[in-house]
Symmetry: C2
Subunit: 152 residues, 2 copies
DNA sequence: ACAAATTATATCGCACGCGATATAATTTAA
DNA sequence: TTAAATTATATCGCGTGCGATATAATTTGT
């Protein structure tokens, strides 16, 4: 039985399970990240810093697909917790350079157990996780490509 | 080269692309939903109502995996816009029954074009979309099952 | 050189999402 | 029956995300 309204049934939307699973995972992270005094978004910022050690805000925003209106207050909070330091780039005074403090760097080892805890709580096979990961990055990469074309 | 920190590299997390794609899609919905005077979350609530016509708040919360602290203010806004009406269940006074107004029901036809607009803006093949959809629902369904077991 | 355009960051206001908690209505149990 | 437990909704406070806009620093064009 075809109904013209079928297209706007919740069950026929890709967006909804994405939204629901994203919320679900962030919820699962919360108790683990509480121990590190981090929110989920602060955690992904810290992951970038743990990896690169030193990043400017623009790169951080691009990497995480966030804008300065989200990043600026978030960095202020991480600075307040003593995990990062901010400094103006001596070359270009517009750029803000973020670096890890000792305490921020120490947090890295405490975070090591987080991914395994999460994967235990997520009911998904390694194959499905791999599949999901790849498909999602296809979307993100395609989007980045379009953005780059538009900014030429 | 294996590094003990590999597990907390952003690129090795499933959560991040999920979060980024979910944000991306909601961002893409915004200009379309603005025309209907709906936010994304309000839109998925309306989808449930368009389908069922009449729902109580608890079912709505369960369907969308949201809690009353998100739903209550949201319903207040939809009521303010004249799209829904709230009434206490005559049987059990704790239950809040939500119904569509005429204006809320009329919105359904205006929303019909939304899914196609979104799918044009998402760079994903129908096969990948199907794959993504199925895998995400595996996670959601497994989660629901666990929740049900816990509430016995 | 210097005004205009561009770029990077910050601010503002709004709407979630969530844990914790409060309130109201119903059910349960002694 | 009536006090305690349970259930459904509401409130509170905080931290995002986001479009729009403002501010500060640099680059560009003439």
């Amino acid at each position: 039985m075809q109904d013209k309204y079928d297209v706007i049934r919740l069950k026929n939307q890709l967006c909804f399970p994405l939204y629901a699973v994203s919320n679900l995972i962030i919820r699962k992270y919360k108790p683990l990240l509480d121990k590190l005094d981090l929110t989920y978004t602060q955690y992904i910022v810290m992951m970038v810093l743990w990896e690169k050690g030193r990043v400017n805000e623009k790169i951080l925003c691009q990497t995480l697909s966030l804008k300065s209106n989200t990043m600026t207050p978030l960095l202020k909070k991480l600075e307040g917790k003593g995990y990062i330091e901010k400094a103006k780039d001596t070359g270009d005074g517009r750029n803000l350079v973020i670096t890890l403090t000792q305490s921020g760097n120490d947090l890295r080892d405490k975070a090591l157990s987080v991914p395994e805890c999460i994967s235990k709580e997520l009911y998904i096979s390694p194959e499905d996780a791999e599949l999901l990961y790849r498909t999602l990055y296809k979307i993100l990469d395609a989007e980045k490509e379009i953005e780059n074309e538009n900014s030429l």
